[in-house]
Symmetry: C3
Subunit: 206 residues, 3 copies
């Protein structure tokens, strides 16, 4: 399953960048950068693997941890060059989401999971790494930001993959479609404010 392996590496690297950027906002030292970067990078895939009861991907192949650590070092020495670290987190996180969702889908498909499980594994792999990062670092979780699409993008992307597979498309096409849909929705939400109607109670409530 080479496409799965490449997706996992890409997802780990990009999520590690976002984790390290959040660590920079918390003014941690280099070991703190590596810790948060690794937590973010492998968090979603770890949840996926524990739920699927398969060996945790980075335990089999510790190179993933090295990749995440390299990303942490890069950010530690270059983050001051960024115009706005928070905007960078949002955009890089969008990219990470668009890589992690297909990685989750691919892992579930490789285990011949039914389509609802494929859907949920895509969403979980995409969302839980960033969620752990935000909960541990006391940032407002991106999944909770009002008036922005986040879980929705993961859901639509995973849904696109399931649809393409159901139409008989080969796996790489389905994963590509998944990544494109996820990225398009998320970046559209960031750039143009695309959103779904949020819950609004009529008068303010307790």
């Amino acid at each position: 399953m080479t496409s799965l392996v490449y997706l996992d590496y890409a997802s780990v690297f990009v999520f590690a960048l976002t984790g390290a950027l959040v660590a920079s906002r918390a003014q941690l030292d280099i070991v703190g950068f590596v810790f948060i970067a690794c937590l973010t990078a492998v968090g979603g895939g770890t949840v996926r693997d524990v739920l699927l009861d398969r060996p945790v991907f980075w335990m089999e192949e510790p190179t993933f941890i090295i990749v995440a650590s390299v990303a942490a070092f890069i950010v530690f020495f270059t983050a001051h060059l960024l115009e706005s670290r928070y905007r960078s987190i949002l955009w890089i996180d969008a990219l990470a989401l668009a890589v992690a969702v297909p990685a989750g889908v691919a892992a579930a498909v490789a285990m011949d999971a039914t389509w609802p499980i494929v859907l949920i594994m895509g969403i979980s792999t995409g969302c839980f790494g960033g969620l752990m990062r935000d909960v541990v670092c006391n940032e407002v979780p991106l999944v909770l930001k009002q008036g922005e699409l986040y879980v929705t993008c993961a859901f639509a992307g995973a849904g696109a993959a399931v649809g393409l597979l159901a139409l008989g498309q080969p796996l790489p096409i389905a994963l590509l479609g998944c990544a494109i849909v996820t990225l398009a929705l998320r970046t559209g939400s960031l750039a143009f404010g695309w959103s779904l109607p949020v819950y609004k109670s009529r008068p303010p409530r307790v």
Copy 2:
């Protein structure tokens, strides 16, 4: 184990209602409602199943996810009818607790676990879904509310089940006793302020 399955469905539905109500307080969109509802609904049982190293219950039977999603939709379109959403969360959560604790007990008993494990599985299944909901949504976790019984209710309920089983009662009776004790203590705490003495340091401390 039909009683186990019914308990799991009931617990998933009722916890999903509380998750969706918390999502309404955070003003999320419908996908956010579904996400938080599912997290709350299956969180406790997932912890239970991972600890017991048995297949995660909703991976085997994705209908659970559909049930939780239906609960999220119901709340999305009806929450504005409630007098106070926060009070509703407390009372519905009490009901969910009273269903989830026996669900955890039943799962552990089905695996011939020893009684301390039965006790812990009851408490974990009851408490961890709501705890994840509150941590992710930045609410004060119900398990931490001062001057209220919460973990205590789960503990007493699971203890009642263990006691009834030790007295030779059949499982359904033990589960019923568990639910009644949990619900009575929790609703008593909400309605009449029942509580255990809390820790109080003499002079204020740093």
Copy 3:
């Protein structure tokens, strides 16, 4: 593996003390003390065991839960005697870290894990119990405290164990070295302010 068992008991007891002290700051009742104490005490080891896909240590041997509960009772009735509960948490947590890191290392070595996994298991076992305690109780996680060594101590301790094993030292020596390095660095950081340079952006950034 007797050394592993003793380390696990010691780590459970000492982490339970810190959990109960945090519970005292949140003014919980005795059941809340036991809940937070158990979560803190077995949290790190549970993550370790789930990742290593071995049976969770306290499920096999519920005495661990009793040990953690005893620690919670001790703190409930004696915490008011402490000069400063927060300082006590920091110092007892340092001791717990210095016991939990070798416990994690020992578990990984017992499974013939490769050295990167040994390293990560040491760090995870050491850090995740306290992290769960702090996230659940809304304290600033110790792993995030600026200008203090925390994850770094776990990293150095686990690294010392890996180095000593690579030099052909027997396991007990490696575990002892691990504990000493972890404790020395952490207490040095608490007492003398030892730290690594933290990330500082030049002008304030958004």
